[in-house]
């Protein structure tokens, strides 16, 4: 492992970390503690004006909370200065949530009128919050609260995340695999489509793989999802393998809150490259309700409810059923989801125990139709996830929390397709060696079944304490994580005679059936330490600093004690400086590690069937072929975690009355990301002579041993390697303008400019590499350096929100404008662009650029095929969607949505070179009916 063997790098990381921590402590020396402000107010029923007692008043992201008294009054003291979010919750009322700027000292009053329907509350927030933070975090975040989620008309978490700047709008439904690619432009590492090199992951896939999704405190992982048809497979089925989890499994209707840490997550979070999405599902004493969503393609029903269980407990249950016809009138594909959750909370005197059970099943079915016999595919993912969290109070200032999760999934995919192949010799050998083959050919029905059973065990133990050091208050977290992931599935299954691969010639290598339960597990562990200091100084100035260190370990063997394969020390530092109550500057820097997927750490072997002798006579009885099977291991023992360095800076301005501006700039570099390296080697093939006396006798020829000759066949092994670098830079802007009161309208803008640069250090080969392999007369063939591809995208999303609290009416018009979108390959395609050549023994021989014009390299000078270097630029265009939500009698809600309301078809415009084709319109209704009130429970 190069990181273990590179003391200078390790020392540098430790020094950086120590510097950060000492800097943090040093910074606190010159800061001066000030008392916090007092926040008070009265909680009342919006309709009657009567006080509401026993309402829980809290400040988001802090431990500050209090219950209202008999007159509905509350009082929170020592409230930290700066932007805060007040939240009030009471049974029978919609949650009240209001951003407020707190001064360094003094008293602030904020009354909270509560309504049974949130639509009747003034100041409703239906966008991601600019100023809020994820709990316990200082990094740039988009916080999406329940009301914004309800207004979003989303089918899954992916739809909710469209409120994050730069996210492309999609119609609500279960169409296709849904993954979240934070700050990524969808570019591929190579576009040499005619090259034999297997393409690696796209920037978007890398980004979704590196975005941590945390469900109710337990990370959801896709590291051991092996549901692919193989790198050279020619059959396809829907799969999330290689990227992040399929977000369709998380229904939006059961989400309470989402926090997207786009910037620098604290040391608490690891195994990521991009950011963290924290999802809280609904639980506790949830008012029972039924929600039904209908559109021309989809139907979705949700029932959810909770109840207090005695004095110290609460339980809730949720069931969600959804179905989408993905290609109506064409192939009648169906995507269906069943999702169910059970949640229980027990509140003891000194501890709180949360337990959750979460079941999901996603089915994507493309049935065989009479019109296209043989063509069908299906993917069924089902999983059960159990999690528990115990929070024990250790005195007044300390807390111990243990979080554990166990997830067992069952993934079944199959695909079949009619194929046609020419006559060829065939062997079904699974071990190395030589044997007689037989001849096959003609049409056949290729079918592949991939059956994986991913397992995920997770445990985190965290100690939190608040302490006074050097006259300052420190919130310290110390924790450890253990993760074990493996796949117990029967594996990659197909009839060898009818492989899912038809264009193979015996020397390109292909897959054979493979069991997944024989693959070693993926083991990680981590230790982290995190400290946060918040202080005011110099009058109105306010400083928040959060610094931490995380040690991430990738283990080898079956258990954590078996050894360490790779490690990374990850320092994180974030600071927030507020010169005034309404202005904040933020900055952060951090390093992150991401383990490779199980399929990259332990790839299946590559099989080569070399034909030593091939006699294809007219008389089938006289035919004979001898085939030698060779197996090459694709495992890369040097594969390490990828490393990401992130830096960001930003400014936030609170203009009052809910009006805010936030600008964030970032630069991120993911190094050593895993792609596919086409490693060159060679195989030796024996050639046999035969006794020709058998010709015409009805018997196959006799082979004369030993072989009369041997030749070398250059081959490529698709080996996972840390050969990708992904660089990202960008700006994110959020502007929420003041409400135009006479029109009851507010405008919110989110914009994102992002650029990606995806570089591959692997080499690429010519399209005719297959000829080179088989024809001994070709002594060498050129290769080219890996492609670098740049992508750039600028998206502005404007939301015009009309809110009439008296009518309980919210109308949201969303305009997404694509201001710029460009993709370009950096490289040369001329005859001198080749980097060298590969010999028949598989050796790569570089040719210096000054010698590439020499006569001896004339056979290598050919234009590089398949690489487009002209920029591919999309036109400026826009898409509009509308949502209307109206409160109904009995505290229900009726929502209407129309995605792509104007049915824009996109354009080929002006100087642009690519079309922009928008998604079709999608329109429908959503009805929410609270059951508790209808049954007269209140």
């Amino acid at each position: 492992m190069d990181t273990l063997g590179n003391p200078s790098r390790r020392s540098r990381a430790v020094l950086i970390a120590l510097g950060i921590v000492s800097g943090l402590w040093g910074a606190t020396l010159w800061a001066q503690e000030r008392p916090g402000a007092i926040l008070s107010g009265r909680v009342t029923d919006e309709a009657s004006g009567l006080p509401i007692s026993g309402a829980l008043v809290s400040l988001e992201g802090t431990s500050a909370q209090v219950l209202t008294d008999e007159s509905g009054r509350y009082r929170l003291s020592k409230v930290s200065a700066g932007p805060q979010v007040l939240r009030v919750a009471s049974i029978g009322y919609a949650p009240f949530r209001r951003p407020i700027t707190i001064p360094i000292s003094g008293q602030v009053t904020l009354d909270a009128p509560m309504a049974k329907s949130a639509l009747k509350l003034p100041g409703i927030v239906v966008t991601a919050d600019v100023s809020s933070r994820a709990r316990g975090e200082l990094g740039t975040a988009s916080v999406i609260d329940r009301e914004a989620i309800r207004n979003q008309t989303a089918a899954s978490l992916a739809g909710v995340l469209e409120l994050v700047p730069g996210t492309v709008l999609q119609p609500p439904g279960l169409d296709g695999v849904q993954q979240f690619s934070l700050r990524a432009v969808p570019i591929r590492p190579t576009v040499s489509l005619s090259s034999p090199t297997v393409a690696g992951p796209t920037a978007a896939t890398l980004a979704s793989f590196g975005t941590r999704i945390v469900l109710d405190g337990v990370p959801a992982s896709n590291n051991v999802n092996l549901q692919t048809a193989g790198p050279r497979g020619e059959l396809f089925f829907p799969t999330a393998a290689g990227g992040g989890i399929d977000l369709r499994r998380i229904p939006a209707a059961t989400i309470e809150r989402v926090e997207v840490i786009r910037g620098i997550p604290s040391a608490r979070f690891g195994d990521l490259t991009q950011g963290v999405v924290l999802v809280d599902t609904r639980g506790g004493a949830v008012d029972p309700e039924v929600r039904l969503r209908l559109d021309a393609r989809s139907i979705e029903a949700t029932i959810i409810g909770g109840h207090r269980l005695g004095e110290s407990g609460a339980g809730s249950a949720a069931l969600n059923l959804a179905r989408t016809r993905t290609f109506p009138a064409f192939r009648d594909n169906l995507g269906t989801r069943i999702s169910a959750q059970l949640a229980h909370r027990h509140e003891g005197r000194r501890f709180i125990l949360d337990t959750r059970a979460d079941f999901y099943q996603l089915l994507e079915d493309e049935p065989e139709l009479p019109s296209s016999p043989g063509l069908a595919s299906r993917s069924r993912d089902a999983g059960l996830r159990l999690s528990t969290r115990v929070r024990a109070e250790l005195g007044s200032a300390s807390r111990l929390e243990w979080t554990a999760g166990l997830e067992a999934a069952r993934q079944r995919s199959f695909s079949q397709s009619p194929q046609l192949r020419g006559a060829m010799p065939f062997t079904n050998r699974l071990t190395e060696g030589k044997q007689d083959g037989r001849f096959i050919g003609g049409p056949y029905l290729a079918r592949i079944d991939v059956e994986g059973d991913p397992r995920h065990v997770y445990s985190r133990l965290e100690f939190t304490t608040s302490a006074q050091r050097l006259g300052l208050r420190h919130d310290i977290r110390l924790g450890s994580e253990l993760t074990r992931e493996w796949n117990d599935g029967p594996g990659y299954l197909f009839d060898i005679e009818f492989p899912p691969q038809v264009s193979f010639n015996g020397v390109q290598g292909f897959d054979r059936p493979r069991r997944f339960d024989s693959i070693p597990p993926l083991l990680t562990s981590a230790l982290y330490l995190d400290d946060r200091v918040s202080r005011s100084f110099g009058g109105n100035w306010l400083l928040n600093v959060q610094a931490g260190l995380r040690l991430e370990l990738l283990h080898e063997g079956s258990w954590w004690i078996s050894g360490i394969r790779d490690h990374l020390i990850e320092p994180r530092l974030q600071a927030e400086l507020g010169p005034s109550q309404r202005l904040r500057f933020r900055g952060g820097i951090g390093r992150f590690g991401k383990v490779s997927s199980l399929s990259d750490l332990f790839p299946g072997s590559q099989y080569y069937d070399l034909v030593n002798f091939n006699y294809f006579a007219n008389d089938p009885a006289e035919r004979r072929a001898i085939i030698t099977t060779r197996i090459l291991d694709r495992t890369n023992p040097d594969l390490t975690m990828s490393r990401t360095d992130k830096v960001e800076a930003g400014v936030e301005l609170d203009l009052g009355e809910g009006s805010q501006v936030a600008l964030t700039g970032y630069t991120e570099r993911v190094r050593r990301a895993v792609g596919i390296d086409a490693a060159t080697t060679f195989l030796i093939r024996d050639r046999f002579a035969v006794d020709s006396a058998t010709i015409g006798t009805g018997r196959p020829p006799e082979v004369i041993e030993p072989p009369f000759a041997s030749d070398t066949i250059p081959t490529l092994i698709d080996r996972p390697a840390n050969n990708l670098r992904l660089g990202s830079r960008g700006l994110e802007l959020t502007v929420i303008l003041p409400e135009i009161k006479p029109l009851r309208t507010r405008l919110a803008l989110t914009g994102a400019w992002s650029t990606n640069r995806l570089e591959s250090s692997s080499v690429e080969f010519a399209p005719h590499f297959g000829d080179f392999q088989l024809l001994e007369t070709i002594p060498r063939t050129p290769y080219w350096e890996g492609t670098t591809r740049k992508g750039e995208r600028m998206i502005l999303t404007s939301r015009l929100i009309y809110h009439e609290p008296g009518a309980g009416l919210v109308v949201t018009g969303t305009l997404q404008t694509y201001l710029r979108e460009i993709q370009v390959n950096i490289g040369s395609t001329d005859t001198l662009a080749f980097a060298g050549y590969v010999t028949r023994s598989g050796e790569l021989v570089p040719v210096p650029i000054e010698r590439r014009g020499d006569p001896e390299f004339a056979d290598l000078r050919r234009p590089r095929a398949g690489l487009l270097i002209d920029p591919q630029q999309g036109p400026v265009d826009w898409l509009f969607s509308i949502q209307v939500s109206k409160s109904l009698p009995l505290d229900g809600r009726l929502s209407f949505y129309a995605f792509n309301t104007f049915d824009r078809i996109g354009s080929y415009g002006g100087r642009t070179t690519t079309a922009r084709l928008f998604l079709p319109i999608r329109f429908g209704l959503e009805i929410t009916a609270p059951l508790g009130l209808a049954w007269g429970e209140r």
């Binding site: 109506p328 139709l369 209407f896 104007f902 049915d903 824009r904 079709p920």
Partner: protein, 537 residues
């Protein structure tokens, strides 16, 4: 003099007309026209050719009394603050089935409808009022229609159809609302609406996927000048309709009608056929309203410019067929109480459309001209609730429409002129303190004269698609309707109700040619609903 004029109008024209609606069953509302006329989604700039019907609503005694005003009649939202005296919410679920042989070639043979809708309004203060409606429905045509477009019998002659008649599923959502504010003497308002529609064949070898979306809005102002309130409005409506024909297991063909002449079949052997229609329809209008001699009156006029572009390429600036229509609309409404118990309402509307069609791929210029006009007048005499057990409505309608179409490619003309007369009688009675019942019967007669090319003059497209519709329009027909409604007063301001309605259209006399339809067509409708707030009884 003026009183005499008003009286003469009252006596001469007891009529009322529903605005032209889509020929889809989903759009055929049982509501009276004033509950639809305000809609920004209303098809201004078009006079679709609808089958004859009564057009006077049914079970209207369980609805508020007929209203007139610049909002209710002309759609100018500036009138909303003045014309919403009460609050009301209605929720309805409707099921309907239509079948029969007396239909046009592009009507579905049989259709079933499921529809859910909500409609409500509320004045929040003397200066601010809101109104909104939402509707979701799904229709199944089995066997389906050959029409590719949502409204195959519009004034626009460029209609696409294909050879597929397999079952079709049509889903539609419509939402619209209006807001009115008063600032001093000035009233202003805005209506916005969107309707989206998706139409897909079910398990077809030759599949059709059609969709359209119509966003629309109107802005209006009004201001008092003496005793008259004058106003102006500007409306915008646009439509994007996309048609895709996809070959899966069987080939098919599309037909692009361009008027009356024969057109070639467009084979769709592989791949897909694509057709897109983009409509832009601005409308400018003037309104005036006031009171005179104890009657309230409304006058309005509109000028509409409809511009349709139809193209077959999925890219910018393709060559497009064009349909340009200019429409003038003028209307009036009067309402007066006759004593304490009776209310009389009279409405009239005149619409005149001239349009020209131009093909993209030739240099002939205009290839089709259409001149269409429609005048309709309706009247209603009804009791207003006063606590008595009985209520009744007598309503009548006279409508005349004339359509002259000139196909310039082959110098072909068609001219149809039709007169519809209809009478509705409705009576309602309270059966107990909580239950009331209503019954409606309606009769009508449609008579027409027409001129169009003989069957032998043209080819199979004319005889199979165009001629039967011209025959249908030339045929005497008799629409009848009957409805029964029951209402239960469930709470202080809560009413549950159900309506059963049957409509039938019978062909009378002989067919003009053997290609015309014959027989009858029946629509059965059942509705259940919930009304919140106090309705008129």
């Amino acid at each position: 003099m003026s009183r005499a004029l008003v009286a003469a109008v009252l006596l001469l024209v007891l009529v009322r007309l529903s605005w032209a609606q889509s020929s889809s069953m989903a759009s055929a509302s049982r509501l009276p026209s004033w509950l639809d006329d305000w809609s920004p989604l209303r098809g201004r700039g078009d006079l679709p050719r609808l089958p004859p019907d009564i057009g006077l609503g049914a079970s209207t005694l369980f609805l508020p009394s007929s209203r007139i005003g610049v909002f209710w009649n002309a759609g100018n939202p500036a009138g909303l603050v003045d014309e919403l005296p009460d609050s009301r919410s209605d929720f309805e679920v409707r099921f309907a089935r239509r079948s029969g042989t007396f239909r046009r070639p592009l009507d579905p043979e049989a259709a079933t409808l499921k529809q859910a809708s909500g409609f409500g309004w509320k004045p929040f203060s003397a200066n601010f009022a809101l109104l909104g409606r939402v509707m979701l429905d799904q229709e199944r045509f089995d066997p389906g229609t050959r029409a590719d477009v949502g409204e195959p019998y519009s004034s626009n002659p460029f209609t696409t159809l294909d050879t597929s008649s397999t079952a079709t599923r049509r889903t539609r959502v419509r939402i619209e609302g209006a807001q009115g504010v008063r600032i001093g003497n000035l009233s202003a308002g805005l209506t916005l609406g969107v309707e989206t529609f998706s139409n897909e064949t079910i398990e077809a070898g030759f599949a059709r996927r059609t969709r359209f979306t119509i966003p629309a809005g109107m802005f209006g102002v009004s201001y008092p000048l003496g005793s008259i309130r004058v106003g102006g409005s500007f409306a915008w409506r646009q439509r994007a309709e996309t048609i895709r024909l996809i070959v899966i297991a069987a080939g098919g063909a599309a037909v692009q009608l361009e008027g009356l002449h024969e057109v070639p079949l467009i084979a769709v052997p592989t791949g897909a056929y694509y057709r897109r229609i983009e409509e832009k329809t601005p409308t400018a209008g003037l309104t005036a309203s006031g009171s005179f001699g104890g009657a309230r009156w409304v006058l309005y006029g509109e000028r509409t410019w409809r511009r349709d572009k139809l193209f077959r390429q999925e890219q910018d600036d393709p060559a497009s067929d064009r349909w340009d229509a200019n429409v003038w609309t003028a209307g009036l409404a009067l309402q007066r109480s006759l004593g304490e118990r009776l209310l009389v309402t009279v409405q009239g509307r005149y619409v005149r459309l001239t349009g020209e069609g131009d093909r993209a791929l030739d240099t002939l210029g205009v290839v089709f001209r259409g001149k269409e006009q429609m005048v309709t007048m309706s009247g209603e005499l009804r009791t207003v609730p006063n606590g008595g057990p009985w209520g009744f409505v007598v309503a009548g309608r006279i409508g005349h429409e004339k359509r002259d179409h000139e196909d310039l490619t082959n110098t072909l003309i068609s001219s149809t002129s039709g007169l519809t007369m209809a009478l509705n009688l409705e009576a309602a009675r309270t059966l107990s303190s909580k239950v009331a019942a209503s019954g409606t019967v309606g009769f009508g007669n449609y008579a027409a004269s027409s001129r169009y090319p003989a069957p032998g003059v043209l080819g199979s497209i004319y005889r199979g698609v165009i001629l039967p519709e011209l025959d249908f329009r030339s045929r005497q027909a008799r629409p009848i309707q009957a409805a029964l409604a029951l209402r239960w007063h469930a709470g202080a301001e809560t009413f549950l109700w159900t309506v059963l309605q049957a409509d039938r259209l019978n062909a009378l006399g002989n067919r003009a040619t053997p290609f015309g339809p014959n027989g009858s067509r029946t629509t059965l409708t059942g509705s259940v609903g919930l009304t919140l707030a106090g309705p008129d009884r």
